[in-house]
Amino acid sequence: MDFDFSVIADHWRFLGSGVLVTLALAGLSGIASLAAGFVAALVRLYGPRWARPAIVLYIDSMRAVPVLVVLVWTFFALPIVAGITLPPFWAALLGLTVHLAAYAAEIVRAGVESVRPGQTRAALALGMSRAQVVRRIVLPQAIVRMLPAFGSLLSVTIKDTAIASVIAVPELMRQSETVAGQSFQPIEVYTFAMLVYFVLLFPVTRGVDLAYRRVAHLGRS
């Protein structure tokens, strides 16, 4: 068996553009799902009563359906229903955000609920409004406690962007498939892709752990 890794050097520009798309997709869907998750969780916890069952249904549905199904549906079926065709990148961004926001919402809820109710009651008794209690007392502690979970969600996000290859988003997985198919050297190309993903993902999990250790005391109460 001979391995010839020059295929990577020959296509580095093509593969490099895939890495950039992976990072862009992960970054954007990470931010968007974080924002949407916060909104969903806060509405579930503090919003009108009628909105709660809808949000619970949404979260549990996303936990029940594979990302692949969400992505494929967003790209192929949504245009038929809604009449608008999204380019692959934006369909992937929408699909990943809809899926991951449910997980982000669960993290936010768990973080908020971990702050003991006695603190909320005390703050209300001191005359704070509900909004003030949430903003000044609950969230500052809860956000610190959410950090490790958000770190693993970020690494899940990067891993899930690889699934966007099935709807032809030109990210690293897709570009690797193309190069592997053209060069007939799948082992070299996919092994290289493994290396790149590992190099991208390993520091994320480690970095978040390290960062959390430095701020963990802020979340204690």
Binding site: A64, V65, P186
Partner: protein, 219 residues
């Protein structure tokens, strides 16, 4: 726009068989991954330094790779390295098992490490052997914490089996997309696929919530 939902009913046989394959993959992967993960976790905790490093390397590697890439890798590399061409189902199973074993090994290790050292030390001081300490003191408590995590891994795995569709394993996602390609009923088949996954996955997700409440540990 006209929709023809009868296409779903016409292909009920294929869809039912494919759903069976999805469950078969989930069950078989777990059946392989749990015992393998026990071994890997034990190596990480109790083996000599080089073996421990290798086990840690394996766990960290597969926890930091997208599963879809592992599936492709297994599909192209396993036949070349071993010289044996496996059917796609076996290749998909191997990729899923490699991935889930790494996650389960981490679950077992974290569960065992979550039992405070003082308890093992106290048991050793009382004259128990290391094996007794593990069997009587550590494992009974650790298992309680491991079970809920295994349950949520089960649900993730159930969903992740859809990824082996990229190497043409005839499970639910692959079968639905094949029917879509043959009949051109895109919306109907993709929606049917989502609904079937939802119907099967939703009760499992709820069951996991129940297990997590039931086995919640408060310290």
């Amino acid at each position: 726009m006209t929709f023809d939902w009868s296409v779903v009913w016409q292909h009920r046989g294929i869809l039912a068989a494919a759903t069976g394959t999805t469950f078969l993959l989930t069950i078989a992967t777990m059946a392989i991954a749990v015992p393998c993960a026990v071994v890997v976790a034990a190596l990480r905790l109790y083996a000599a330094a080089p073996v421990r490093a290798a086990a840690t390397g394996y766990v960290e590697l597969f926890r930091n790779l997208p599963l879809i890439l592992v599936v492709y890798w297994a599909f192209y590399v396993v036949p070349i390295l071993t010289g044996v061409g496996l059917p796609p189902l076996a290749t998909g199973l191997a990729a899923l098992a490699l991935n889930v074993t790494a996650y389960n090994a981490e679950t077992f290790r974290a569960g065992i490490n979550s039992i405070r050292r003082g308890q093992s030390e106290a048991a050793l001081a009382l004259g128990m052997s290391r094996v007794q300490v593990l069997r009587r003191i550590v494992l009974p408590q650790a298992l309680r914490r491991i079970l809920p995590v295994l349950a949520s891994t089960w649900v993730s795995l159930f969903k992740d089996t859809s990824l082996v569709s990229v190497i043409a394993v005839g499970e639910l996602a692959y079968a639905s997309m094949q029917i879509r390609a043959q009949t051109f009923r895109v919306l109907e088949m993709l929606t049917a696929m989502a609904v079937i996954y939802w119907l099967l996955g939703y009760p499992q997700a709820k069951l996991v919530d129940w297990i997590q409440r039931r086995y919640a540990v408060t310290e």
